[in-house]
Subunit: 380 residues, 3 copies
């Protein structure tokens, strides 16, 4: 399932998206919600199953539209989603072999972005553009990753490592959801476990106690002791508890870690040697202003001792996680709306772990490129 | 039903909304649709029945979001609708006794806006903010009023007086509607009775004759003689006529008065000693740019001589007033849209009463505070 | 059906819309999608049947709202759609004889825009405005045309000539559709016949070959030889083929011509003396920024040799043209969206005919007048 396709960009727009933090970007003082996500990483932009053979799938990274397509030979290609001719989305087009043909005037593109055919080109025609930007692509863990930064760095940049995914002891659930907030709200939400009040209807009364936290240039981590104090809880939560997760009276250790730009959560039940549950997540900005992100999550759960039990409980566990996620989404989207109305970040954070992750997200981010709304400039 | 709760604001935003007309505000020359409503008055922001015991109700005044909640002791509290921590709306929260707890990290607030508890606060945490702004609240006439201006002036500022509401001779209907226009269009609409053509399908042919008008620094008043000339009319209108209001051939005296910031209308049938109908209304800006207002109205009608008739006729009278209101709303919202498209006030008013009320609304208004859209400024 | 009504504008706004290209408008270098359409032409703004006797119809030209109404004497009048009093749309009003009465305070207007009555005007009232702008109107070919430019030029400006419309050999179908794009995308779409790939599901495999093209200051023309290569096609297309249009193996000559601001297409089957099909079209900007246009089209088809066949085939031909139009609309609207996201015209055109028509559209256009959004300026 894992494969590399290195693709050099061509055409005038090829280098547009490239570049690390600009010199004039004063990260420590920037409003965190105006900090763009670092580009020199692998980001998922689709679930593999959404990119079927011979089909095109429209996605985006931070406002850059991307046309993913899977050619005849099975590999996925990622092109800038604009025909070089008239800027019509290539995702409206047609896959032919390993090429993608624009729906309008039938220009054809190779997977590396070069124009391979213009059916009607004659001597009288002007010299056509060479092609469009292509993104390096890798496919792994059931996700399609692209590298939106400097293509020269792509090959040396590792994909995230998810060793439990290959283990026969574990099974994995994939999440893919749009959330209308800056990616930073998601990191802060997961790292600050003092928000269990929000989930009281699903998890009952959970008491988290911060055991410790640490942080460096690219990561922030918190460890909690979780005790269940009673109260109603969802059957999916109960099922996880029956398997050693969050049992009444028990105490589990939960470790949450942002390792830029990804985030992980691991839950180790009292006395256990390995995680009962592990979540890997990343929040990929969709729009140019990075006020909407796409959350991709891989939830890996230890298989239960009773065979077949997991299969029966799977829908309940999914429902439980969906409910928790829906509650989190409601508040982070409310935070984003507040920020937009207030025009600045007025949060007064008190919790050290959140202060840690904010510093990490600022330091590793890049300026958000100004959008070019066509509204203001008018012909005079 | 009437009660006072004086509440001093705390926290950094507490004084933000305070202040009378700024020195640099050139009221006589300002575009009236850019004049904000004066803040040092009591404004309804909810119907009492919408704020149930133990529940929160989200409302706003001129773009300031307000969380109203009714505590265990029955009183209503009005807090800035932003948790001081992460700016999540407190209206998503939970009432506990007379406190309000934020849904996200469970911070608790007292009715005066002070933070009363942060469940997880430890020595390692940063110093938390003190609280949020609280608005003085009074409840009267079935409405919840707040005082959005200088809190020091609240207690000495009288609520509007509505003596007929207490009288056994009269009965009252409450109206509460959002209208997408600047409040000034509403004042002009009611004061200029030459718009009966708009209501021709409901009231038939009504001929208003201006008997006189007067105006001072805070008020503008017009008196009309109303004669009904025939034409179809709504059954609710007929019912009012049967009770002496707008009878065919008869002539009623209608007095309409803006007494800043409220408006009243009284209708005295020919030969009668007291009003057959009295309307009190106020148009409370909802959004920061004050292009949408919430109209609160109390329509007081003399009880008919035949007992029981009013109860039977009540639905017809409500339908009649709803139809009239719907027609008025259509035109004032059209006026607002025209203003937005034209970017300035291009009205050419000819009627002296409207010129009077415009002067009053300008002189008693305040600058509209600039919104802070988070769109323009980007990190460079 | 053809009639002239010359109408001089009155009121302060009467001259606002008038004027040719401004001196400072550098047409050759302007972004084509920011070039406004030339005003000194006759433009359809409604289908005649939409303007019924005694009724008002709201339309617009490039953001100027227009109230069309047909008076008792049968003629259509076109007034600025704003009452001079309070800017309420006159299209909410009521036709009385040949006058139009505003719905709000019942001011009446004549067809030339002058106020003819204000029912309540008294000595105390201020001097009222004289009226609103009126547009010259002509009705022809089942369409209502207005002249939005300098009214002094209107009478001497000819309506488009459509000789086939009067011929008994031909029959005509009228199209009227809103398309959310700048009018220039429509001209380019029709002139560049290399986009048959877009219509492959409807027309099968059509091979266009450019026979020649020419262009001058006000026009651009292309001639193609069309050969049908097979492939499935729509039954409407087949029906046209049966009548000599696009038969399998045959070759038709198609001539497409932009003659500013209109566009024509004529198809002459091999060996025929006269067109089998002729389309006249114009794309009238609806909004001030000219990002939406209204396409009016008259499709004239030679009557078939078998009597009655056309009547039977008419619905199929309409469906065929609707399908082709829907496909074209999808791409031109995608082009407009791309332009808005990119903030500038990044098209890389290679085809000489499109380069020709761009030059013509730029040279005959005018600056788009800046809209006045009421958002930015606030009282300070």
């Amino acid at each position: 399932m894992t494969g590399i396709e290195s693709a050099g960009g061509v055409g005038p727009g090829a280098q547009a998206g490239v570049g690390g933090p600009a010199v004039e970007f004063d990260a420590p003082r920037a409003d965190l919600r105006r900090v763009g996500i670092g580009r020199d990483f692998w980001y998922p932009v689709a679930v593999s199953g959404s990119v079927r053979k011979g089909k095109v799938f429209a996605t985006s990274f931070a406002g850059e539209r991307i046309a993913l397509y899977r050619g005849e030979s099975g590999g996925v290609h990622a092109l800038e989603d604009r025909c070089a001719h008239r800027q019509v989305p290539l995702s409206m087009g047609v896959v032919e072999g390993d090429a993608l043909r624009c729906a309008y005037h039938a220009w054809a593109y190779r997977g590396d972005g070069r124009v391979s055919q213009i059916p009607y080109l004659s001597r009288e025609c002007a010299r056509p553009p060479r092609g469009v930007r292509a993104f390096p692509v890798r496919e792994a863990y059931g996700l399609v990753f692209v590298h939106p930064g400097d293509p020269a760095l792509a090959e040396a940049t590792p994909l995230p490592e998810l060793p439990l995914l290959g283990s026969p002891r574990y099974t994995t659930m994939t999440f893919s959801r749009t959330v209308r907030c800056h990616y930073s709200f998601m990191h802060e939400n997961l790292l600050d476990m003092n928000h269990q009040f929000l989930h009281r209807g699903v998890v009952g009364r959970l008491r988290p106690e911060l055991l410790g936290h640490r942080s460096d240039a690219v990561s922030a981590e918190a460890r909690y002791l979780f005790t269940h104090d009673g109260g109603r809880r969802d059957r999916g939560a109960g099922l996880l508890a029956g398997e050693g997760v969050g049992r009444g009276g028990s105490a589990d250790v939960m470790t949450i870690r942002t390792e830029y730009p990804y985030q992980r959560l691991e839950l180790v039940p009292q006395g256990a040697q390995r995680p009962a549950l592990s979540l890997w997540a990343v929040y990929v900005p969709e729009d140019a202003e990075q006020r909407t992100c796409h959350a991709y999550g891989l939830l890996t759960i230890e298989k239960p001792r009773v065979p077949g039990l997991l299969r029966m409980g799977w829908p309940l566990i999914r429902r439980f996680t969906e409910r928790v996620f829906a509650e989190d989404r409601a508040v982070v989207e409310a935070e984003q709306r507040a920020w937009q109305e207030q025009g600045e970040d007025r949060n007064h954070e008190v919790f050290p772990v959140v202060l840690d992750v904010r510093r990490v997200l600022r330091a590793n981010g890049v300026p958000i490129r100004p959008a070019r709304p066509a509204t203001a400039d008018l012909v005079h």
